[in-house]
């Protein structure tokens, strides 16, 4: 019901916005007619929300008046040339002719972009007074901040993220799932660890990394597509191992 009452105003706002965001002629908006419409409707508005929509419509109309002013100024200037003619001409001209026309009307700015002795002194003072990066981080983030690093299984147990039993159970479950899904074939790594919850995805990736390190699963990557495939191994893998870093940030 309220929508219907405000429909006229919303239409005015929409019309103004469409003219503002295109190169349409701002004189297509009949300002007088719209102002009269706002004037006639004004006594009907009682709620704050209605008055706000009314003032928004008024604001949009003022923007159109501003555009009309600019449009007239431009048209009155010597730069006004029939748009179709100039567009056709630009389309037909070769790039070289356009470049030549530009260069002939171009007066590049002359400037020196260099540091002055005063600037050098300022830079020196800034550098001298700049506290070490660790100190600055301390001010911003406190003293707990540590850089990204490696956390091993023992630490996770100590932190209480896993208990030893949970971890072993998790590994067995994940290996069973992997065997079931692969059935001797290769499957997509990201698909396997996929989960709506980030925590679960990270947990699955961590456990899977453990299975691979233990030689209970293996992975391969396709350099062209960048895809990574995994499969379960029936017997523990032997031979040389290598470390692979996989980003799981955009796993879904």
């Amino acid at each position: 019901m309220e929508e219907n009452r405000l429909e006229d105003l919303l239409r005015v706002i929409e019309l103004c916005r469409s003219v503002e965001s295109s190169s349409a002629n701002p004189f297509d908006v009949d300002i007088r007619e719209k102002i009269l419409l706002l004037k006639n409707k004004l006594p009907e508005w009682k709620l704050l929300e209605e008055l706000l929509v009314d003032s928004e419509a008024m604001l949009e109309l003022t923007q159109i008046v501003k555009l009309q002013d600019e449009w007239l100024k431009h048209r009155a200037s010597s730069l006004y040339i029939d748009p179709l003619l100039i567009q056709l001409k630009v389309k037909l001209l070769p790039k070289e002719a356009l470049t030549e026309a530009f260069v002939k009307s171009w007066h590049p700015v002359a400037q020196l972009d260099q540091i002055s002795p005063k600037g050098l002194e300022k830079a020196f003072v800034y550098w001298r007074d700049l506290s070490p990066i660790a100190e600055r981080f301390k001010e911003e983030f406190g003293t707990y901040g540590t850089r990204p690093g490696v956390i091993d299984y023992q630490e996770l147990v100590t932190l209480g993220v896993f208990t030893k039993t949970q971890f072993e159970e998790g590994l067995t479950e994940l290996q069973a799932e992997l065997v079931d899904k692969t059935r001797g074939d290769w499957i997509d790594y990201m698909e396997f660890i996929k989960s709506p919850a980030t925590e679960t995805r990270v947990r699955r990736a961590y456990l899977l990394a453990f299975l691979i390190s233990e030689g209970r699963a293996t992975l391969k990557s396709e350099p062209l597509t960048g895809k990574i495939y995994i499969t379960a191994l029936s017997s523990k893998a032997k031979g040389p191992t290598k470390s692979v870093a996989i980003s799981i940030a955009s796993g879904d």
Binding site: S23, I81, A97, V103, Q111
Partner: protein, 184 residues
């Protein structure tokens, strides 16, 4: 007394040249209010003297009027009196294609009464230039001040175009150029 005045004037003219030629901040040029601070209330007179002094070097002092049209908001800068040749422009590291994109964009915006939707400009330019060049060049010219892009992604000619490009000459030259002969 007269020699003292002359020395003071010379000093102010030197100062005017220094502040105009050395870039301060992101954009070249010095605003009217800054000039007043550096040179005093009679800064326009000093700049007239400077303009005479530098004309022999092929330079001129150019004023770009600010949005509100006041003296304080005007931007003063030094620019070449004469236009460079195409080969000179090329040696400064600017590609012909880039200049052609800018010329076509300025002409298109002017033909649309000084404002055109970026999408519209891109569509127009893509008839002549590859998509990647159009997007790259428009972004670059917005960044360098040749074009202005507002929050409704409408493009206008920027302050640098007003400072460096004689838009009337550009439009006339484009209109007067003969079109390319059709390929046989």
């Amino acid at each position: 007394m007269e020699s003292q005045d002359k020395a003071l004037l010379e000093r102010k003219v030197r100062k005017a040249f220094q502040v105009l030629v050395l870039q301060r901040g992101r954009n070249p040029g010095v605003k009217g209010w800054e000039m007043k601070r550096y040179l005093g209330l009679d800064y326009r007179g000093i700049m007239e003297v400077l303009a005479e002094d530098i004309s022999g070097l092929g330079l001129e002092v150019f004023e770009v009027k600010g949005a509100d049209g006041t003296d304080d908001s005007s931007r003063f800068l030094l620019r070449f009196r004469e236009s460079p040749s195409v080969s000179e422009a090329e040696t400064s590291g600017i590609r012909i294609d880039d200049l052609a994109v800018l010329a076509a964009t300025i002409a298109f915006i002017n033909s649309k009464q000084g404002r055109a939707a970026r999408k519209e400009v891109e569509m127009f330019l893509r008839e002549k230039f590859p998509k990647w060049r159009v997007e790259y060049s428009l972004d670059r010219y917005v960044k360098r001040g040749y074009l202005d892009q507002d929050d409704r992604t409408m493009l206008h000619t920027g302050w640098r175009t007003h400072a460096e490009v004689d838009e009337k000459t550009l439009m006339t030259l484009i209109l007067s150029r003969a079109q390319a002969a059709p390929a046989k």
